[in-house]
Symmetry: C2
Subunit: 132 residues, 2 copies
DNA sequence: CGGAATCCCCCTGGATACTG
DNA sequence: CAGTATCCAGGGGGATTCCG
């Protein structure tokens, strides 16, 4: 060990990593909540009305759906279209940006499904050894 | 348009989508919190000690770091190695599974950085029109 | 130095009811 | 049918303290 410093990454990579972490943090703050990805997932099939959306996602309260949609709309991930008819009707659909999000999300889903078994096994093993 | 039903996805794809959503939900429950990805990001550079880890992530409290590491360890994403020396020393490092997570995460980070500007713009526009 | 337990505050998010 | 406002409980998470 004669190295003065042990750096496993170059400063440039570290900068990259830091920037990525910040960016990742932002996205996760947006999509990391309980409902957002569900809504995006359902919406990825096509436009949908408010109530249809709620019916599609069990456990999602009226209020939470409103807030989730608001957030997504605010960030330009979904487009809201209101028809001033009686009864009123509002359609929600993914924008181009919203759709583009589904791709990396899909990659993550693939990983999730691939590692699911490993993770559950690890969890069981961990719980067993701490309970014992 | 002679189709009897307007389905943008086949039933099979819908099943896929549902399964993916579930899987995604699981991952996001794990990595969606405030600190986990930061820890994974820092650990992706190499093994690190508890205090070094904490110093690396501003705002991360002692307690939260403990809990975050516990969770990751439980799911087999990080490996914990304790040395019974005085003073005690504990190293944390990503496991193979943990490292494999960084890949889809990286894809997501790329997306994040690419869309960051769009999202901020949309957000500003949205806020402007609602504040007006 | 690393971890666990206690305390406590704040904010998320659910239920309900009202407006248009 | 869509959205907002109010109320309120539960838990996430920070500060602190004590143990090994």
């Amino acid at each position: 060990m004669t190295k003065p410093k042990l750096r496993l990454v170059t400063p440039d990579q570290a900068q990259e990593g830091a920037a990525n972490c910040k960016a990742l943090g932002q996205v996760l703050d947006r999509i990391g909540d309980k409902w957002t990805i569900m809504v995006v997932g359902v919406l990825s099939h096509g436009p949908m009305r408010f109530n249809a959306l709620q019916r599609e996602i069990p456990g999602l309260s009226h209020r939470m759906l409103t807030m989730t949609l608001r957030g997504l709309e605010r960030d330009g991930l979904v487009k809201r279209t209101a028809f001033a008819t009686i009864p009123p009707r509002v359609d929600y659909e993914l924008t181009a940006v919203g759709h583009s999000l589904t791709e990396p999300l899909y990659a993550l889903a693939i990983w999730a499904r691939g590692q699911q078994a490993n993770i559950e096994a690890a969890r069981a093993a961990f719980d067993a050894s701490s309970t014992d």
